[in-house]
Every structure is written in C-alpha cells, then in structure tokens.
Symmetry: C2
Subunit: 492 residues, 2 copies
Amino acid sequence: MLTQNQETTKSINWQPIIKEFIKVLGEKGVVQRKEELITYECDGLTSYKQRPPVAVLPRTTEQVSQIVKICNKYQVPFIARGSGTGLSGGALPTDNSVLIVTSLMRQILKIDLENQQAIVQPGVINSWVTQAVSGAGFYFAPDPSSQIICSIGGNIAENSGGVHCLKYGVTTNHVLGLKIVLPDGEIIDIGGQIPEMPGYDLTGVFVGSEGTLGIATEITLKILKAAESICVLLADFTSVEAAAASVSDIISAGIIPGGMEMMDNISINAVEDVVATNCYPRDAAAILLVEVDGLDVEVTVNKQKVSEVCLKNGARNITVASDPETRLKLWKGRKAAFAAAGHVSPDYYVQDGVIPRTQLPYVLKEIAALSNKFGYQIANVFHAGDGNLHPLILFDNAIPGELEKVEEVGGEILKLCVKVGGSISGEHGIGADKKCYMPDMFSDTDLETMQWVKQVFNPDNLANPGKIFPTPRTCGEAAKASLQNFPNVERF
Amino acid sequence: MLTQNQETTKSINWQPIIKEFIKVLGEKGVVQRKEELITYECDGLTSYKQRPPVAVLPRTTEQVSQIVKICNKYQVPFIARGSGTGLSGGALPTDNSVLIVTSLMRQILKIDLENQQAIVQPGVINSWVTQAVSGAGFYFAPDPSSQIICSIGGNIAENSGGVHCLKYGVTTNHVLGLKIVLPDGEIIDIGGQIPEMPGYDLTGVFVGSEGTLGIATEITLKILKAAESICVLLADFTSVEAAAASVSDIISAGIIPGGMEMMDNISINAVEDVVATNCYPRDAAAILLVEVDGLDVEVTVNKQKVSEVCLKNGARNITVASDPETRLKLWKGRKAAFAAAGHVSPDYYVQDGVIPRTQLPYVLKEIAALSNKFGYQIANVFHAGDGNLHPLILFDNAIPGELEKVEEVGGEILKLCVKVGGSISGEHGIGADKKCYMPDMFSDTDLETMQWVKQVFNPDNLANPGKIFPTPRTCGEAAKASLQNFPNVERF
C-alpha cells in the first residue's frame, strides 16, 4: 500500500494541493519553504530524518477535516505531529506526505471541575492542563518527562506514561472521549463524558494507535483531585540488586507509591554533572525515588513503611522531602536524566522496554552483561514500579558503524524484555524505530488482527504509513523495507 | 446478514452438525433434549425467551475453537453463555444458533501472586477468584451483585461493574490479557502479563463486546492487595436530594470511597421485608452506604470526613461498621435488593443508565415525575458514586400490555440519561434489550465505525448476531426488526 503511495511520489504535483491547503488555512497556515521545513524533519528520535514536502498548521477540527479530505482527493499520505518530542519516530515524515502540525491547536476548550474533566485541543501542552486546574486543587496525572513541551495529542498517539503512572495509570486511563478526524476526513465522536460507555471501546483502540487511525482534534481528559499530602523519599543503595529488590518489596507491602523511579550510578553522575541537584550521592550504585501521596496520616505511615523496606534491603541513607521545593529538587534530576546523558556522551540511544516487576534484578544484571559484551556504557534510569526500563546506551556517532551496533544492543535488550514476559514499549510507542521487533512479541495472527482494525479505519493507508507494523516480518527484512519506506532518510 | 442466517433456519439439518459436535465433546458435552435446553432459553432478562436448537459444553480452548470451526463450516451462528445472569439479554439464543456454554470451563489455570495476576477459564465464578487468593491477602476487585454465581467470561462480555468499581474501575481495568477464539475459530492472544502493550489495545475492544467479536477462553486478571482496613458507613436521610448532594460532596472533598451506594425508601423496605437486615431505617427517604478502605489511619480520617459531609447535608444518623460481620450485614441488603424487588412486586424491570454524578438530584427528581406520570412505583438502588442508576420499575406482567408500558418508562429514563450527558448502559450491556436506544446516544457515523470493527472480527455475523447494534435505526423499526431477529421469542 505504502509502496503504491511511494510509486506515485515522483509524479506528485504539489502545486494544486498546496493551493487547496492555502484556501483552507491561508498562506500562513501552509509551510513550504525548505529552510522552515527543516524544523519538522525528525521528532525526538533524531537518528531518522526526512524533510516533508509540505507542512500545514490548522486551528480547528473542521480545518483538519478539510486538509485530510484534500489529502484523500489527491491520495497523498499525511502524518500528524504535536510538539515533536516522541522517541520512536512516530511523527517521522516521508518524502511524499503532508505533515499536519497541531501546534496552533492550543486551546483549552472547556474545564468542568464539578465532573473533573477538561476538553482540550491536541496541541495543548501536557503541563498546561495541570496549570489550568491546579488553582482549584486539581491536576492531570500523566506526566512524561517532556511534559513542559510535549502535546496532549502526542500523548494520545503514543499512550504516554510518566513518573506518576504507577499509581494513576498511563494516558489511556485519563481519556474519556475524543473527537476524531478519520483518515477519510469524516469527523466522529468516540467515548464521552463518563468513564464507561456501551458499544466497543474505540477510545481505547485510538489511544496509542500512533496516528494510524486518524487525528484527535478534541480530547476530553479526566482531572484528578490533588492529594492532601505528598512526600518524596530518596533511598541510596550500594547495589543495583538491593534497589531492585526494594521495588518489589514496597509493592508487596501493599503500598502503591505515586511514583517509584530508579537511577543507576552512571545516571546519577550524569545528572549531577549537568544539573547539579547536589542531592544524589555520586558513589551510590543506585538510588530509588519514591513518592507517596494521599492523606497526611496515610503519607506519614507509608513513608515510614517505605523507609523500613529500603533499610531492610540495605539502603545506606534515606532523604525525605515533604516541602514542595525539596520535592521538586529531588525530581529535577530524574526529569533531566535524558538531557544529562546527552551532555556526558556525544550521543545516546534510549530504549523503552517493560518487564514484570519481579524480573528487575535479573534483567538489570543481563543489561550489565550486554554492556560488557558490546563495550558500551549503559545508563539505567526508569519507572521501576512499572517495570518500565529506559536503558540509555552511550556512544559516539562520529565513529562509523557505531549506531548500527548500538541499535543491535537495543534490540538485544528488547528481546530480553519479551523473553521474561514483558514488552518492547512501555510509553514511547513503536513508531518507525521498533516495528521490526513486533514479531518478537506478537504472532502473525495477532499482528494481522491489529492490521484488520487498521484497515477499517485507514483503508488507503494514508494516515501515518509505515509505522508500527513490520512489513515484511523479519527484522532484517523490515530494516531493508524500512529504508524503502523512507528512501531519503539521512542517518544523523 | 442475520436475516440470511435466518432464512436458512428452516433448512438447517442439525444432525450432521451435532454429530461433529459429539465427535469433539462426546455425548455428554452436547445438549439436545428439549427439556434440558429450557435452562438456556433466557438469561437474567427473562422477558425474552428462545430455546436454542442445541447447546454445547466445551472444556478447553481447543474444543471451543473446533466447535466454532464446525459452526463456520455449516454457517450456523453461535452464542456464548456463562452463568446466564446477564440483564440485557446478551446471551439470548436465536432459533437457528448453537449455544456455547462455558460452565465446564471452570479452572483457575495459574495464580501468580508476585506479579499480582491470575489466569482463569471463562466459566470461573467471579467470587472464586477472590476466594482463591484471599488467604494470601489479595482480591479481585470487580464485584457484580451476582458475583457468587456470575462467570468471569460473562463479566468480560458485558464489562461488568459492581459496588467497588467506583474506586477500582470496572472489569476492563482488571484484564491484562486474553486468549480468544475468533469467530472463524482461529485462536489469538491479545494483551499480556503487563498493563500496557504496544499496538492497538484489542483487549480494550474485546472487553464489553458482548460476545460479538469471539469467545475469551483464557483470561489474565489483575489481582489487588487487600486493604489494611475497611469501614462501611450507613447514612440515613429524610430526603433523596440530601443523599444525592452528599455523594457529590464526598467526592469533592477528595475522598474516593471503595463503594458508594444509594437506596431509596421503596428499596429499603423491600430489602427489610425480604432479607430483614434490621439495619436499614424503614422511614428513611434514602440511605447511603459508603465504604472507605486503605490504611488504618486513612480509614479513620476518611470515615470522619464522610460522616461530617453527610451530617452537614442533613443525615439523621450514621451507623459505622468496622468489623467484617457488621460490614457484611450492611452490604447484604444492598446486594439482595434486586431479588427483594422480585419478592415485593409480581415483576420488575431494571434499567442501567449512567449520568454525570452532579446530575443525580435532577435525574432522581425526573424519575419520580415519570413514576407519577405513568403510575408505576420505581425503586432506586444504585452505584451513586459512579452515577450508575438502577431504577427498578415495579409492575404486574399478568396485566396485558403492562410490559410494553414499563419498557416505555425504561426508555424515557435512558433518554433522560443521554440528555444530561450520560449513557444507556453502565455495566449490564446493550444485548438484545437496549440496542434500539443506541442511536439516541451515538451518531450514525459512530455506530458505523463500531460495526466496521465488528465486520473485521466477525465478517459472517456468526458470533452473537442481533445484539448491540440497531438495524434499522429508529427504535420502532428496531423493535420490529428485533422481532424478526427472534421470530420465536415468547414474551413471559
């Protein structure tokens, strides 16, 4: 299907298409100049780059629908893009497609505190939602590290997680309803104002579908009441295994922390070098950051319990932060960890695998073994409570062939995750980056079933072609096909 | 599609089909005798009855797959049935279909306490899951009133709720993965052992699809750690509005009770007449049952807060039950409320609408007005915290024409729910009963999109035909078509 689209690439005459776009959006809503289009050549996964032929900036559902209908008329593919912070290349353009950028769709359309919901446009920045309701004592729970820049539309596409998703669930658990422009331009409403609706749960299918089923243009989000009390504990360990064991033991003790994050020695030092929190012990093998929230009395009891579990597992020290400033300081390092890795190493490649929590000690040991075997430093900084790993493989891309080797290490880690009953993606999505690993996780029939569903929404494969699904099936073949899909992709 | 199936009804030669069934299941696994088949002529919605031509009782996934393949070979529809406690006619047979009964698929296949999950067959009774893990301090959260008899497979089909779903979510929030026999007999695995998986969320689509997308044969459930402490409060009000206002105020105070149920005067008296809890004040206009759970300290604070809110709203009395026996006694009346209504009235018709919580006082007033207008007593007993209403319309079906009038009242209530932004089903499903109201809630495009998805899984419409979707669209037309779909349905 994609190949068909691409076969027509050479012959696409963009002029009439762009003329129609301008009729809908005005000159300013259509980006055609090459130097402006460079902004859009990649998302957060910078190892794939492709400048799109044209980008459009609609402001309303109706405009998105009209743009998509024009794309249908000329049978050109389109790709939606939010803030471009995605880490799996989900918003990577192709050389024959229109990039539909939602960054002018930034209105919070409605806030209904009584029913604890807000309706927003897809370009609204994640942290703006909390800002808009925090004065009244509410917040929006999913909080990716990129929350001050990533968009709600992107969160929907990738079903984003974040530090607080251990207790409160990832994006899909916080979306009540969606207005969607289907890949043929039709506008539909799915879900609604209440959590459970009859009929098939199309909202559930759409969230995490990485732009392949349409474009969400109005999103009804759940808003939560802020906890009475919050406390962050930093526990400092001399072994990674002890930190990992504490994670399981805390959950087994019946505590569900608001967040529970682990950082290893490499991450700690990277963060201290760059952000200088001066809170993280540079000689620790690993630290755990555990946030407990709830009633004052509940937090008092739970912080005591968490401390006991960590001490029993051999923690050297526990730092407790109850005031907002110290809490923020403790979290700051964690949130800046990816950026810090980028400062201490010329390049890094981040993976996003998930494992059953109880497999943490084993998998971390295996990752260490891979690090030794391949000779790359691997920093581990991740959502430990969810078993959602983010190994950062540090390397120097100036050395030819390194990226390929590093991707191989990343692949080994993902296969390890699948082997222990886990997943190749927790929150970053599959995108262009990981589709070749889908057959490691899903059978042919499973993948076919998903693609049947795709076919229903997106029969002409115009919405974000070449993402999620491997074609053909093996990784090597998929890699080759992937290059065909993105013929002009430049490796950075 | 269905009509096609039914056109062939007259000419179905069951003998070769049954012979093939017996080859798979043995004589005992195939029910053919008319007097035995009467068991299966309806589910909990007894106003529709249809004896199936044949019922089969498989024990394994492989057997279900073989049965379904035989159905495909002969192009006869099939309908899955669990314990038959459903309240929307989801398991109502047709006169040309095979009933696949899961009541011999009652094995708990695996319990993994470390990762807090259990794998069960679909015929496993809901409360057995909790029984199996409670010794170790765990439980399965969704708890329909019928939990001592309803099956997990049925819970999956209808996305069942229950008293504790306010805090912990309905069935879909507690299903990690499914092994499914597709409508063509193929076996696939969706979801897995960890909460978030890449690709489309097919588990989410399947849960609540009412048997129209296939049959779940192995279900991976989430198991929760039991709370340290539980306390149930019974608040007694002299006005329904005051009770309803307390519901909103409790949530606004930042408390999410484990459960929050309301019963009005009619329900209270029905329950006391039949179950004699001797706890419910017969002269109260309404009672609220509020369960708070968590840490000891948390429960102490929250029960205080709940009491204060109720007293502020004019509660006459608050009874607090902290010991398991008294708690059970307070809940017993609520769980027996439907059965009690069946004792105090010759018949009752129960609806299952959902409204935004803040609309409770308004909607309850309107229901009272409908009760006056049509001259039927309506008992209200429901999941107040979720805004999930269960009005029980009391009537005497011996009087000709009453059922039709009562269904009209039920329809008016559902339309009222939709008008205030709610839903026509919270947890009982659409089934055969409410499909004519789907267009009140969803646009043509929305319904078409769902049916595209159905088409993908169930292209020959062999899996549970005639359920969920109205064909044609208006209620009157659908009612007529419904009779065509179920030509031999006997009104009780």
